[in-house]
């Protein structure tokens, strides 16, 4: 019992020692923490942006609905009949008849050539059925093939080009962010490891002396690990702050973009869970970086 209490008090002592050391040279420590914070904030911030873009792309278009255009000759009752038939398929979630006149309105709204269509002499559109598939993309191919084979069908059009473009852009952005994340995560470990390494160098004499009077490796190692942890957690907090500020800076062009799409989507900020993540990752990287540095460099220092 007593031993455990003493061990704990030793730990607490080390921890406060580390905090004191950070607070003791406020500027130097703040600089270290700032660098780590930036290295954490950049990928986290970029990730928030990409997540936002994804959520936004979700609001732009539902699932990959597609349109079945019927022959001009198909009349209203036949078209409605067909829609019902399609709706009953297993691989179809929804199928709605778009009346010729409704279709023209729809076409105007989405084609981007809206006003140009006012110039048309008569409604040139046939009936159309809008289908939302239920299955996977493999099922989709089969479904399209089936519908195309119907004799009433003039054309099946998968209007997914725009969505695909967007997905490709986001995919690319995600890849860029991934590369950045790996690079900067590496940077965090190296910065902390490096700082601890130089810190160890600065305390070379102290380490030697403690070894000389019988301090074990664990005793020497502990304050450095706590120091790394302090750096990491401090950096996590600061990173959250930087992201909030950074999002503020990009908020205005983002809003401009939203307006272009007539969207009332609001940019999502950093959630509490994200912040907890940042703290956790910061603390872990700090501890790990310190551990690596200590393991590498503590043995090198032997009294002579």
């Amino acid at each position: 019992m007593d031993t455990i209490a003493r061990y704990l008090s030793l730990h607490v002592e080390n921890m406060t020692g580390a905090v004191v050391r950070v607070a003791d040279r406020p500027l130097g420590s703040l600089m270290t923490i700032l660098v780590i914070a930036i290295a954490l904030a950049v990928p986290a911030g970029l990730r928030v942006m990409v997540d936002n873009a994804r959520a936004l792309s979700g609001t732009w278009q539902g699932a990959a609905d597609f349109t079945v255009y019927l022959e001009m000759a198909v009349d209203d009752p036949a078209a409605e009949d067909l829609a019902l038939q399609i709706r009953q398929r297993n691989d179809v979630e929804r199928a709605e008849l778009l009346d010729r006149s409704d279709a023209l309105v729809e076409f105007r709204a989405y084609s981007g050539f809206g006003e140009a269509l006012d110039l048309l002499a008569e409604n040139p559109l046939p009936h159309a059925i809008i289908v939302r598939p239920a299955g996977t993309s493999a099922d989709l191919d089969q479904l399209v093939e089936d519908l195309d084979a119907l004799e009433e069908t003039a054309l099946v059009q998968l209007d997914t080009e725009w969505l695909e473009r967007l997905r490709a852009i986001l995919e690319l952005a995600r890849r860029v962010v991934d590369v950045t994340t790996v690079l900067l995560g590496l940077a965090v470990i190296v910065v902390i490891g490096n700082t601890i390494r130089l810190e160890i160098g600065n305390r070379r004499e102290e380490i030697e002396i403690i070894k000389l009077v019988g301090g074990s490796d664990g005793y020497i190692r502990r304050p450095f690990l706590y120091l790394g942890l302090c750096y990491g957690v401090g950096a996590g907090i600061l990173a959250a702050l930087i992201i909030v500020l950074g999002l503020g800076l990009v908020a205005s062009p983002a809003r401009a973009l939203m307006e272009l799409y007539g969207s009332d989507y609001r940019l999502a900020g950093l959630s509490l869970a994200d912040m907890a993540w940042l703290l956790g990752v910061g603390g872990f990287l700090g501890w790990a970086g310190a551990g690596i540095a200590v393991a590498r460099h503590l043995r090198e220092i032997e009294p002579s």
């Binding site: 003493r6 002396i209 070894k211 000389l212 009077v213 019988g214």
Partner: protein, 223 residues
């Protein structure tokens, strides 16, 4: 307490600091180690404290063969020895009190007891009034005495000291040597390397004489 058997020490640079040294220091004994500069005195003490390891021969300390103490057991091994260093080796960013308390903190001594022991040790070297000062604000003689206080604060069974009076005036030197004598009186084994021949001739403890890495004269008692 200490037994050297035909110990040789050759440093990587190729210089041979000890060339076959054998002697024995009994439990509770006190002895002075003398010899000219570069004779190997510090090297001999370093072998006792496991700061260096012998190239050949056997070093036994407190009945343990130092060759059999693995790296990770060295801290424990050192805790039974009080060492006074030629260059003080104090931590400049800790107070005199904290410096003396260091070995006790490492042994996780209870706070109350630690305090008592540290102050007793400081009192013995006449520096109690400086307990809250930092080492850099002390004269070198004062620093040396802080080093002595640290070495004895944990009441080790063996104290080794490398020229503990090199920076002290003759009067203080004698006083410090008498202090070591008092530790010896209560059973501590003491080995002191020193140049102060005049001083030790007045004190009459056993003398070990090293020259160019070999023990000479009547002091050498083959193990």
């Amino acid at each position: 307490m200490i037994r050297f058997e035909n110990v040789r020490k050759r440093y990587p640079a190729g210089r041979e600091a000890l060339r076959g040294v054998s002697f024995r220091l009994e439990r509770g004994e006190m002895a002075f180690l003398t010899g000219p500069s570069g004779a190997g005195k510090s090297t001999l003490l370093k072998l006792v404290a496991l700061i260096e390891r012998p190239t050949r021969g056997t070093v036994l300390v407190a009945s343990q063969n130092t060759a059999r103490v693995p790296r990770r057991r060295i801290p424990q091994f050192r805790r039974q020895i009080g060492i006074v260093f030629q260059d003080h080796k104090l931590l400049h960013d800790r107070t005199v009190f904290d410096n003396v308390a260091l070995p006790l903190m490492i042994s996780s001594l209870r706070r109350r007891e630690l305090r008592g022991r540290v102050r007793a040790a400081l009192d013995q070297v006449g520096l109690l009034r400086y307990e809250n000062q930092f080492p850099l604000s002390l004269s070198s003689g004062e620093q040396q005495r802080v080093g002595i206080a640290r070495a004895v604060a944990s009441r080790p069974q063996l104290v080794i000291a490398d020229e503990p009076t090199g920076n002290l005036d003759p009067g203080l030197s004698l006083e410090i040597m008498r202090l070591f004598g008092r530790f010896n009186d209560v059973g501590t084994t003491v080995l002191i390397a020193t140049h102060d021949l005049e001083l030790i001739s007045r004190m009459g403890y056993r003398r070990l004489y090293l020259e160019a890495g070999s023990m000479a004269g009547p002091a050498a008692v083959p193990g």
